[in-house]
Each structure stands twice: as structure tokens, then as C-alpha cells.
């Protein structure tokens, strides 16, 4: 049994919150450069120019990339042979969020759904725990903005609808969202599981690197096919028209009930901010 101190978690989480909101991941930057080169319209190229200047400026000044520094989302793998001393892991993560959002001058966006009163410190974080073999703690953080989250959807398809139904629903969703979720977006898709599990698959898929290849060749082909179709919509950067409506499509699957075909589409804006740390 390995023991770590809760303070290690608090500090690691605070750093994750601050760094993720300041430094755009390398794969997203590279995708901007690749996509900007394919754009012919001056408006589309201008959006990529501004987004590039924006991430350079954020890095230089320490300002967040976007004022919407998100709800704090975590996927946490807890090793079976790990013990945390000082407080429980959930409490430590929330303390880390409080610290990171205060010290990093990040916006606190969590509020009561009815009164709309701000909780004041961006907690509670939304935490998905998993128990895994080993004695490590892996914490993946995502700053998830409201604009793209609002454009996300879950549906229960009929098994007969199959891939054609999935494809149609995803394209319809991105078409309908249009300029609202800050395109070019990353589209996370969860297929299978249950009504509640499909969206978790979709969200977790957004943690993948844009330039990775799905290890399942069938899913990799589906991701390519969907990305190409979505980019043919022509919505373009910020909805101003162009070849880049989406930066990437990531699909995650899980077995489902014989009666069901759950499908979740979780849209992420171009400011795809996530990082992970292992303790």
C-alpha cells in the first residue's frame, strides 16, 4: 500500500486548472496551423490568425485563453493499492479547484440551477472516479465551457437505425449548432451503455489527442468518415464559412441493452483545454 498526502493532490489539481486555462494543448495548436493552410476565405483565415495570436498572448500574459474557464471536469483513476492521507480524494480535488481558480484569476462559473446564485469558487467539480490496478493516482482535467456544452445532445436510437442513424444525428446536431459552440469544434461521441453512460463516454473521448488514431480500425474509419462529412457542412471557423467546421471526431463505445442504441454528442469548442497528471 502506497500512501500520498492530500496536499499533493490539492497542489496538482490547482496547477492543472491554471495551466490548462493558459496553455492550449500542442495538438490543438498544430491542428489550427494545418487547417488555416487549407482555408481560402479571408474571414476563416482571420479567425485562425486571431486564435493563434490569442494562445500566444495567453501564454505570454498569463491571462486565460477564454473568459469561460469552464466547469471543472475530472476523470480520476485511483490505484487499488493507494491510500490518501489527510482527507478524501473528492474533498482534495475540490480544494484544488478552489485554489486554482482563485490563484489563477479564473472565472467562477458554477451556480445554483434555480436561484442562479454563484457558488463563488467554481465547486463542486464534476468528478468521474474509476478504480484501477496499481498504486498511482491519475487525474485528467477538462475546463468545459457552457456554450459548447449547451449544443450537446443525448438520444436513444432504435437498434435498427444503426450507423446510418448515428451518422445522421451527429451531422444534424453540428449543423443545427452552427456558429453557437465556437467552431471549429471537437466532437466527442459516446455510443452504447445507457442513457446516463453514453454522455460520459462522449466526454471522456474529448480527452484524446486530436492526432491520435483510434486503436479499433472500424471506429477509426467512422471517425474519419464523420469528420469529413462534418467539414463538408461548410459552417467554418466561428460560422463564417470555410472548410474547417470540426478539428476532430472521437468515438467511444460500450455494450448496451439489446433494446437500445444510446448516443451522446458532446461538443467541445476550439479552445479544447485539458491536461492530466499522475501522482
Amino acid at each position: 500500500m502506497r500512501t500520498i498526502q492530500a496536499t499533493q493532490i490539492i497542489d496538482a489539481v490547482a496547477n492543472l486548472c491554471i495551466d490548462s486555462n493558459r496553455y492550449l494543448p500542442r495538438d490543438v495548436r498544430e491542428r489550427f496551423t494545418q487547417c488555416a493552410a487549407t482555408e481560402e476565405s479571408p474571414a476563416a483565415r482571420e479567425v485562425f490568425r486571431q486564435l493563434t495570436e490569442n494562445y500566444m498572448l495567453a501564454e505570454e500574459t498569463g491571462l486565460p485563453l477564454c473568459q469561460d474557464t469552464g466547469l471543472a471536469i475530472f476523470f480520476v483513476d485511483v490505484g487499488e493499492d493507494l491510500r490518501v492521507e489527510g482527507m478524501n480524494i473528492r474533498e482534495a480535488i475540490n480544494k484544488g479547484v478552489r485554489k486554482g481558480y482563485a490563484e489563477g484569476f479564473l472565472r467562477k462559473s458554477a451556480c445554483d440551477p434555480f436561484t442562479r446564485a454563484n457558488t463563488g469558487d467554481n465547486t463542486p467539480a464534476i468528478i468521474h472516479f474509476d478504480i484501477v490496478p496499481g498504486d498511482k493516482l491519475k487525474i485528467a482535467f477538462m475546463a468545459k465551457g457552457g456554450g459548447s456544452e449547451n449544443m450537446s445532445r443525448v438520444t436513444m436510437l432504435s437498434p435498427a437505425q444503426g450507423w446510418a442513424g448515428i451518422r445522421k444525428f451527429v451531422i444534424e446536431r453540428v449543423a443545427e449548432a452552427g456558429p453557437n459552440p465556437c467552431p471549429p469544434t471537437v466532437v466527442g461521441i459516446g455510443v452504447g451503455g445507457t442513457f446516463d453512460f453514453a454522455p460520459i463516454l462522449a466526454k471522456k473521448a474529448l480527452l484524446r489527442k486530436l492526432d491520435d488514431v483510434n486503436p479499433d480500425p472500424k471506429l477509426a474509419a467512422m471517425e474519419d468518415e464523420l469528420l469529413e462529412a462534418l467539414n463538408r457542412l461548410g459552417i467554418g471557423p466561428m460560422g463564417l464559412g470555410g472548410k474547417t467546421t470540426c478539428l476532430g471526431v472521437k468515438i467511444a463505445v460500450s455494450p448496451c441493452h439489446i433494446a437500445s442504441l444510446p448516443l451522446a454528442v458532446n461538443i467541445q469548442c476550439h479552445s479544447s483545454r485539458h491536461q492530466e497528471v499522475e501522482i
Binding site: 490569442n54 477564454c66 473568459q67 462559473s109 463538408r232 461548410g234 466561428m238
Partner: protein
């Protein structure tokens, strides 16, 4: 597509010349308001109480900035999605508000209000909060401080980069998605 340098408060003449796709660099005073602040503004109007700023000629920026770090007037300050303010915007335009700044689509009622009251809907680049922050030289909370990021702030902006999305002549910049090309039809 033309380029304009405009100064607040905006006039009917300023608005009338603008067409969807035009680039505008805006200088002067603008006011921030998003979901909760709009609700409060409408409540004040319903009670015939004075608003915290002059609506005539005004520009409302849909933004909830991140906190100002030491030595800066404001944190990151890019636009939020506009459709959530569609419920409130026509009434504010009818009382003289000349422009809103946000991102994303507006509904038909807002587009009609732009025509009826000679107003315009500007887009700013979503997710470019650090970059847009550079064009804001001062910020001061003038109402609803308790709303935190949603409080109404008076901002001084210099050459704030905007695109005309919906003009007062019925023009719109956003493209319709090509459903056929994507294999939907």
C-alpha cells in the same frame, strides 16, 4: 465589405451604413450584460425604475469576464453565445440600444427588432478572450456587483474588432450549413 471606425454612442446614421460582413473597430464606452443582468434590466423596466446606464445609443456586450489580475483592468473578455439574450434584446432595442456584441445565431424576433429600431448585431471572435482583453482600457462595475462575473460593467474600448453579423436591412453573415454536401439530403 467595408471597414469602419466607430465611436460610441452610436447613431442611426452609423447603423444605417453597416452591412453584414463589414468590419468595425469600435472605440468608446460599452456595457457588459449577460443572462442574469438582462433579467434584472427587464425587471427594472417592468417596475418603471431607472436603468444603470443610458440605453439610447448604447452598445451591450454579452460577456462575463474572468477576474482582473493585478496590473490589468480586466481578465479575458470574449463574447458569450447570444441566443440566450434573444428574449430580452428586442425590448432593449426598442428603447434605443443600438447594438449588441456576442457570438452565434439570433432569432427572427431579434432580426426584426434590428430592422424596426435601426440596430445591429456584431460578432466578436469567441474563445479569443485574452486577445480581446487587450482592447479594453478600463472596466468598472456599475450595477449588480453580487452577480460576480455577470455584473454590469462599464468598459472603455479602443479599436475593439467586430464583424457585422446581422444588419438593419435584413442582411446576415452566417452561412447556412450545406446539409446536402454532408450527405443529409
Amino acid at each position: 465589405m467595408a471597414e469602419y471606425n466607430l465611436q460610441t454612442p452610436l447613431t442611426d446614421e452609423d447603423i444605417y451604413q453597416l452591412r453584414a460582413g463589414d468590419v468595425v473597430r469600435l472605440t468608446g464606452t460599452i456595457y457588459t450584460a449577460r443572462d442574469a443582468a438582462h433579467k434584472r434590466l427587464i425587471d427594472l423596466l417592468d417596475k418603471s425604475e431607472p436603468l444603470p446606464f443610458e440605453l439610447k445609443g448604447s452598445v451591450i456586450y454579452y460577456v462575463g469576464p474572468s477576474p482582473a489580475p493585478p496590473g490589468r483592468p480586466i481578465g479575458a473578455a470574449g463574447p458569450t453565445t447570444s441566443y440566450r439574450m434573444d428574449t430580452y434584446a428586442p425590448r432593449l432595442h426598442s428603447l434605443g440600444c443600438k447594438a449588441s456584441v456576442g457570438k452565434g445565431k439570433r432569432n427572427d424576433a431579434v432580426k426584426q427588432a434590428l430592422k424596426d429600431h435601426k440596430a445591429v448585431y456584431f460578432g466578436a471572435t469567441g474563445g479569443a478572450g485574452a486577445l480581446l482583453s487587450k482592447c479594453i482600457s478600463s472596466a468598472r462595475v456599475i450595477a449588480f456587483d453580487e452577480l460576480g462575473p455577470e455584473a454590469i460593467r462599464e468598459l472603455t474600448v479602443v479599436d475593439f474588432p467586430l464583424l457585422v453579423i446581422n444588419d438593419c436591412h435584413g442582411g446576415e453573415l452566417y452561412v447556412q450549413p450545406d446539409r446536402k454536401a454532408a450527405g443529409l439530403e
